[in-house]
Symmetry: D2
Subunit: 284 residues, 4 copies
């Protein structure tokens, strides 16, 4: 990243303050709708616009939970140099506004490195929930982790490091072998109703309803089910309600549990996207 | 432990229910002032009386937070066989009552195995506090642990397993070498004011005021200080107040964070004390 | 796997004895050119033929290092039921013989689960070599692992668990992030000449000449280079000779360092190939 | 340690070269009977004499395996300032010579920090032996460690980190609880004959014959027994011979397996002994 780059960071929560501070080490950073950093002066024309995730709640205004003013996204265009890239998360309809004005648009949440790095605060957040909810130690507890993707791998490793007996449920045979190599027990999803009675807790990362009524019915009544999957989640909520099982929705953990780390991850990803000059399906 | 032993478990919180259930695997267990278990029948004469920790809040009545009735300790004497041992935690003045009636009295909190095993739920409780309080991941965080005794060792190992950079402050040179062998950095207490500015958090286990005003002043303002030491604690509270440092008192974590495990540990210790026929300064 | 299956295990080293014994738990196993197991009786017609890896050294006879007799592969055909599958490793030209006789042929070395599981004995073998060759402890040693595939991941984890400071060199940015998540430092290959002077040892798993003359020249003279990549290896051998660097070729470690485990892995893979009824490019 | 200190390092193997080099960072170091370092000039009077362990094989001459000359210990006296301390390992009778000449004598092998630090190269050496001898992976292997002192603790931790199932045999109940807290199974010595049939290997650290004929008879015939205890060792050698068990004597591992680390440990201990100005029973 060239040192003389001028970045405008607009909107977002505490994470975006941290990201702005981290980017200030390698660029001139100005802020809008953020409590920290140098407020954007009149007449500034930035080389890059950094927006939050999601970019907007209503499709028109900037998501700006730390500001009392409302900022129309369109008003940001005049602060950018022609062709300056716009980076944000989950643009939805708002991408069209920037593209129409000639700005390349990148969604950093599509960057695999961003997702990989966020698996760490997500896994720590899940561990915190388990420590909080379980009436026993994690050491020696039997925990089911569904899915062995980015989050499942890091979470299974953290739990194993803390002395838990981890069972990984995964569809792909090779993922099950990988879980075994990492010291876990591994089962296919079909086996879950049979083995579920032995678990003290469940952490589910699969964005599909793999924690079915059968699985919930077989779980011990008091075993908490932490649903880490993005919407609509992993758990058959209706069955959980009927059966009286405790389901703890746990999305967006990096921003909630470790906003400073989440901000640093964002800053690192922004730098990489700029240095890569695109790639990996990030530019939309 | 003989199988035909009859135990009377009286008073205490959720831990004592778990302990009673665990002991029921190897003895006939009856309960007083506990919601679970077989209520003590009229005329029962038990072989052993299990009391909570502390035994009493007022020196006269049983500590019985799960019961609405008040139970004078003296009333328990009639439920015991002559010479039946009485096990409890922190008897204080109440030991005299049982001794005068001819019952040997053991304080299980003086059993080294009990203390060692409780280091595990204590360390998990401290990890939970850090995960909750730190705005960043524990992975990569720099954490100071003061003391390298029972709790310090287990806690430093847990934090290291979670990817934290752990510094142990210990007085004894051999403890510092042990901490280094376990992958930590080690410093004497005198060095703390010099190095404290680099810590993201502090967990203090030393029952002496080692987290002095000098150390607190050098710590980053936002670094939480978790005080795990038994009363009166590790931290110069007055200096912390003046300096605006966040001190989190964290005593009795096993019972608060992992009552089921704490109950099992108690049951295991009771069995060992009975099987040992004394020893180790437990009988008072 | 059906219990009544009859397997003929022919040839191979100690691993194949272990595999035959392990398969005998779930099938009737007979052996040829192996010291253990039930010798194949006259007139047997097996449901499955298990051959070693490689199947043959000369393209005509069975690889049978534990037998003094020479066994033409063609002679095995008469011991098989029509259409009985033949499983072996690296058939080369010999596959044609079995196919022409109507037998489906599977190369178990192409099974991803087989390769994944063998990463474990390979990594242990590499650790053994380092412990043997380094004049210092692995604890605290700085070790370069090139590649972050099956072997690189397991090896980096073992070395980290033993207290080494591991640097992973990988081409893909996402692999570098994965290595960082696992507690390693990560660099692209281009950086190696710059950082190589800091390594105490190198383990290279990439089947391409990534340990170039530049890297070798920058390494400390006494740092051993363990070449774990399949032929033709990772290291510029000519440059190593000229520079006087120590290169330790380390192929086939599972069979050499842990033949019993390697045999069990083979038996497990055979069972899975039979149960899968093909799949994954194993049938050739 | 004062910077202007002059040290004379005399005799010993490769470790002492490393120690001399490490000490040269903080003192002026001259050598006798060592291939590296600055040879001791005529007329030098050193502030400290560093001798090997053991100091002498015959009670008269310096142990000097790297020198072809024979060096009478008495000849070293003229190279020392009056009252200069003499540090060595296992002086035996030779201490009298130095004491008679007015030199304080310290045996660094009596320094607890020295022994603690050497547990690390010892444990790595034991792991190397197991990796070498076991026909299976350490991952998943069942290993008995007798003793839970300095070496037993580090070794059990290393084996656990490599995925082995470790059982610790210890006499003290508190040591057994400590082993359990570290993720091991723990048994008293009396239980060994009953459980020994399940072990793939034994590492014995107790300097008493705890691996008795009963234990050896119950072990699997092929399980190697690594004897790490100082003479006369842990194993009933006569019973092992009769039973045909494989006993691998493994003493002095730091010097054999990791001489560079062993040398650094020695240098560090020398600095600490000098800085402590005595203490801990090191001065004899």
């Amino acid at each position: 990243m060239q040192n003389e780059l001028t970045i405008l960071a607009a909107g977002g929560d505490l994470r975006y303050d941290t990201a702005a501070r981290a980017l200030a080490e390698v660029a001139a950073v100005f802020t809008i709708a953020l409590p920290t950093g140098t407020p954007c002066p009149e007449g500034l024309r930035a080389d890059l616009l950094l927006l939050p995730c999601p970019v907007s709640a209503d499709g028109v205004h900037l998501l700006a939970p730390q500001s009392e003013k409302r900022w129309p996204l369109a008003a940001l265009l005049s602060r950018l140099k022609p062709g300056a890239p716009v980076l944000g998360g989950l643009f939805g309809e708002t991408a069209a506004l920037f593209k129409a004005a000639g700005h390349p648009v990148a969604d950093y949440t599509r960057d695999e490195r961003f997702a990989l790095r966020n698996a760490l605060p997500t896994a720590e957040g899940a561990v915190a929930i388990l420590l909080d909810r379980l009436p026993r130690t994690l050491d020696g507890a039997s925990v089911l982790v569904t899915g062995y993707g980015r989050i499942g791998r890091v979470l299974a490793a953290k739990l194993t490091a803390l002395g838990a007996d981890v069972t990984v449920a995964a569809r792909k045979p090779t993922d099950r072998v990988k879980a075994e190599l990492a010291g876990c027990r591994a089962v296919p999803f079909e086996a879950l109703p049979t083995v579920a009675s032995g678990f003290d807790a469940v952490c589910s990362t699969v964005p599909a309803k793999v924690v079915t009524a059968d699985v919930l019915a077989a779980l011990p009544a008091e075993a908490p089910v932490v649903d880490l999957a993005s919407a609509p989640g992993s758990v058959d909520e209706e069955a959980a309600r009927v059966l009286g099982r405790t389901v703890i929705p746990a999305r967006g953990l990096p921003g909630k549990c470790a906003p400073v780390t989440a901000g640093r991850i964002l800053a690192e990803t922004v730098r990489e996207i700029v240095d890569d000059e695109g790639g990996d399906g990030v530019w939309i």
